[in-house]
């Protein structure tokens, strides 16, 4: 416990977290500080490329574990299953309508890649090994939750089921972040250590610094979002935004246990299960469930769950995973 606290404290005063806080404070104070959209997108492309490549190169180095397939299947099941839990929980805790609940549920079944990135940073800084293919698990978890949410809506017979056309399936599966993550993972795997050596000064050395600026931007966006949301997100929903990641992380822990991941891998699977999408799923929701209110799902995902995971969740999951998932790497 003392361990968790000290970990949390170290974590809280890391440049990464403080950059997020800076952005949040600046936005709430109505500063005009903004990072251009193109630069924010450029940084997210950089982070996806770097994390995918490093994961792939890690797999090339450590060989493909027997648990690779099992991990991906577990990730798939988690992403499909978590929306049902989220949907039920929202029913119990809030007065949101079916569409809004389903849309939020899709976000929590899917993942936030920057939360994942932050977790790998924490692991690295503590010298905890994690499986390179956890990146592939992240990619696998992006989309299935959307299908679960749409299925929930279809079953509920709610009007406004949106246009679940063929185009949407392609968009969801070939969404830029999935393609970039999987693609760079494969490139990393194919070119291995040697490839990594060529581009390490680009994708490893400055990584933490770029992450700081990216989190500064996320803080700005989250802060502006919170300012615009005028009371649409009630206290019940806010509690959900903290409870759901904890529940998700327990499922992630159980899955990691069953699959036989290393402590580091378990911490990452917990983080993935606990995190909520804010890039891919919002775009899909605008097409598929246009009547669901963005102010609700974005506020919960970006304004509540993301900072919670960043500040408290990640150190907690890491501590739990290293304590419970024994065994040397």
């Amino acid at each position: 416990m003392a361990d968790i606290l000290s970990l949390a404290t170290t974590n809280l005063i890391s440049p990464i977290i403080l950059s997020f806080v800076l952005g949040l404070v600046a936005a709430l104070a109505r500063s005009d500080l903004t990072i251009p959209e193109a630069v924010a997108k450029g940084m997210s492309i950089y982070l996806l490329f770097a994390i995918g490549f490093k994961g792939g190169a890690g797999v090339a180095t450590h060989g493909v574990d027997a648990t690779l397939i099992a991990t991906l299947v577990a990730a798939l099941i988690l992403s499909f299953a978590l929306p049902f839990i989220a949907f039920a929980l929202l029913g119990a805790m809030t007065r949101l309508g079916t569409l809004d609940r389903a849309a939020v549920a899709a976000h929590y079944g899917s993942i936030s890649i920057v939360t994942f990135v932050a977790a790998t940073s924490v692991l690295e800084s503590q010298g905890i090994f994690s499986e390179g293919y956890m990146v592939a698990a992240a990619a696998v978890m992006e989309a299935p939750a959307i299908l679960s949410a749409l299925w929930i809506v279809a079953r509920s017979g709610a009007k406004g089921t949106g246009t679940m056309d063929a185009g949407l399936y392609r968009e969801i599966l070939l969404n830029g972040s999935i393609v970039l993550l999987v693609g760079s993972f494969i490139i990393g795997m194919v070119t291995g250590e040697e490839g990594l050596a060529t581009i390490a000064p680009f994708i490893i050395a400055p990584f933490q610094g770029v992450l700081c600026l990216f989190l500064l931007d996320m803080g700005l966006v989250a802060g502006r979002g919170l300012r615009e949301t005028r009371g649409e997100v009630g206290p019940g929903a806010v509690v959900f935004g903290i409870l759901m990641p904890l529940i998700g992380s327990i499922f992630g822990l159980a899955a990691a246990f069953l699959v036989g991941l290393s402590p580091g891998g378990a911490a990452l699977l917990m983080t993935l299960s606990a995190s909520a999408s804010y890039i891919a799923v919002p775009a899909a929701m605008r097409v598929a469930l246009p009547e669901a209110k963005p102010s609700i799902y974005l506020t919960l995902s970006l304004g509540v769950t993301f900072p919670f995971n960043l500040a408290i969740g990640i150190p907690l999951y890491t501590a739990l995973a290293t304590a419970l998932v024994g065994g040397a790497p």
Binding site: P36, G162, E171, I279, A283, R286, V287, K293, P294
Partner: protein
């Protein structure tokens, strides 16, 4: 200089739907359109800005389409089928164009 009657249709629509809208326009026989970026705005669903956004989910674009007046109704039907349930604004202005053979 000789000009010809036309309609200028401007559709402000969520970016994730822009592809569907332009496909529908092309299907409705529109010969061309132009997409302008949008920085931000405000409406019944609140105020928004593209600044610092990574997701394509939040944000709109403006699709401008010049057409022969007689094609307006087909275009509006096509546009409406996409915009209907979504956030978006459609406006039509009387215009004149050079080189009518293009529209």
């Amino acid at each position: 200089m000789k000009t010809h009657q036309a309609k200028r249709v401007e559709i402000i629509i969520e970016e994730p739907l822009a592809g569907r809208l332009t496909d529908a326009l092309i299907e409705a026989g529109v010969t061309g359109y132009t997409i302008l970026p949008v920085k931000g705005g405000s409406g019944r669903s609140g105020r928004w800005s593209r600044a610092g956004q990574v997701s394509r989910g939040s944000g709109m674009v403006a699709v401008v389409c010049l057409i022969k007046p007689e094609r307006l109704d087909t275009l509006l039907d096509a546009a409406f089928s996409v915009v209907e349930k979504h956030i978006g604004v459609v406006s039509i202005t009387d215009a004149h164009v050079l080189r009518a053979e293009r529209f």
